[in-house]
Point group: C2
Chain length 304, copies 2
């Protein structure tokens, strides 16, 4: 797994870009890493901690002469950034992004990509509840999926190169079709996040039970929701706005199922509840067997 | 913290009773622990692994001469078990239970408690996704809450004794009023579990995305739901049926909030989404500051 770029520009210096910089160095990348963030404070911190080799004062400055430009900004501003850097992109360079939504990013970014420049969207499925330039760490992508989601007409060789990059950063990669990516992510990530956000909001807003109490007794199941619901608000706002169709479709199915279970509770239909819960338990076994989680008996306990 | 019972009977030999037996021994309890489970297979396993000192062939046999009888059965059958053992309960003995719902348990158990026998309901807020006689371990209750929820007229001295027992088993205890307990648990535990069950069911039932794919990419948020949704089906069926009122109330608030967020997504109201997500993030900080979870940056990763 070799990294076949000489200069890599990271636009946006948050958790993902920062982790990419750390992982690039861990992988022995010897080229230059440039970086830019819209916030002066973020750029200042990035310089202070030597996050990249050169922190630039504009996205164009960072993208100039880069072989690979990775857009690590919220999905909603990808298009504007692409438009801004387009004039400086060098022929044969590759533009990529790390957004959690792909159709919307392709729609907004692709029109700005100049002739002779490649565009290969990706989605590293990794994150923490932390954000900002100090949040990154080299191990973030280790053994995590990075989905490569080619735009229409993406160059096969450019796809291979970015695939190799992500494997060098620690990821397992898979090429996926755009619409399927957005639907799959709505199911395994976007709607679960929205539901977690909602439940945490409900708990906080309930006047007969204090926030202190909710926090105190959170280990009983609620804590897993707060962990999910602590992710970056800007990123998630954009995800829901930009993956609207799939999110609303899955939400529709979710409320349909929830109402069916609610009705079973109201009417006292224990058999329906039991059958449903037995079935979902089997899915959990599948996840453990697939090596995506461990079987250790400490649910709700020492998670770090 | 001393244990002031000489003989303790555990009715039901699943995760909680098993963990109590292990924790009693760890605490140096020198009296006899008797046990009973309805399933012959469970009794057989319990004997094989020496889970308790004496596995009995009936609940009454186990409860005979016990100073403390703890009902560790699903909430829906607590009343029937209490009725069965009532004739053998000795004067001055205490009956307790470990159910996740308290009003319904008190309604079904209290009428069977003989004059001169104490009844002090409790709720150890600890569990794993595993169940059965082999699932227990001595550390399950360490630093976890055990709520003591006295029935009307519970004897103050009997309350103190059971409070001491739970602290000896590793728990932190708090006395709580019945209705408040049931509402709090609906918020921090019951509704989160129902939502997790629902989301896992939706994911499994979605024909355009395979179960294998959902499992493969589960680390993106979904996995936390499957962990919650893998708990014992019988226990949870009973929890929802027996804490119907509070569950339906919180569910109503949840769907109201969810619809508001869904509408914001549909209408493209990014400000509403951003404000909501910013607020929930603050709640997460509160949980970390309260020492109920760690701040380690590995969300969705190496949880064991």
């Amino acid at each position: 797994m070799s990294i076949s770029y000489n200069r890599i520009a990271l636009i946006g210096l948050g958790l993902i870009a920062g982790s990419m910089a750390h992982a690039l160095r861990r992988a022995g990348f010897e080229g230059e890493i440039t970086g830019y963030a819209r916030s002066a404070e973020t750029r200042e911190i990035a310089r202070e901690i030597n996050l990249v080799d050169r922190v630039c004062e504009s996205a164009s400055e960072a993208a100039q002469d880069a072989d690979l430009v990775v857009l690590c900004v919220p999905v909603g501003v990808m298009g504007a950034v692409a438009k801004e850097i387009a004039p400086v992109l060098k022929p044969g360079a590759t533009v990529s992004d790390v957004g959690s939504v792909k159709q919307a990013v392709i729609d907004s970014v692709a029109p700005h990509i100049p002739e002779g420049v490649h565009f290969v969207p990706t989605h590293p499925m990794a994150g923490t509840e932390h954000s900002g330039p100090r949040a990154g760490f080299a191990e973030l992508f280790d053994n995590r999926w990075c989905l490569i989601v080619p735009a229409p007409g993406s160059d096969p060789q450019a796809i291979d190169k970015i695939d190799e990059l992500w494997r060098a950063l620690g990821s397992t990669t898979e090429v996926m079709e755009i619409a399927h990516h957005d639907l799959l992510c709505a199911i395994v990530s976007h709607v679960p996040h929205l539901i977690a956000y909602t439940m945490v909001g409900v708990a906080d807003d309930f006047s007969r039970v204090s926030e202190q109490e909710v926090i105190k007794f959170s280990a009983a199941g609620f804590r897993d929701f707060t962990r999910i619901a602590a992710s970056d608000p800007t990123m998630w706002r954009d995800v829901f706005l930009e993956n609207k169709e799939a999110t609303l479709e899955i939400l529709g199915r979710f409320t349909e199922e929830l109402f069916a279970l609610q009705r079973a509770i109201r009417t006292g239909d224990g058999e329906q509840l039991f059958d449903y819960f037995t079935h979902t338990r089997a899915i959990r076994r599948g996840i453990i067997e697939a090596g995506q989680d461990t079987d250790a008996p400490d649910f709700g306990r020492g998670k770090s």
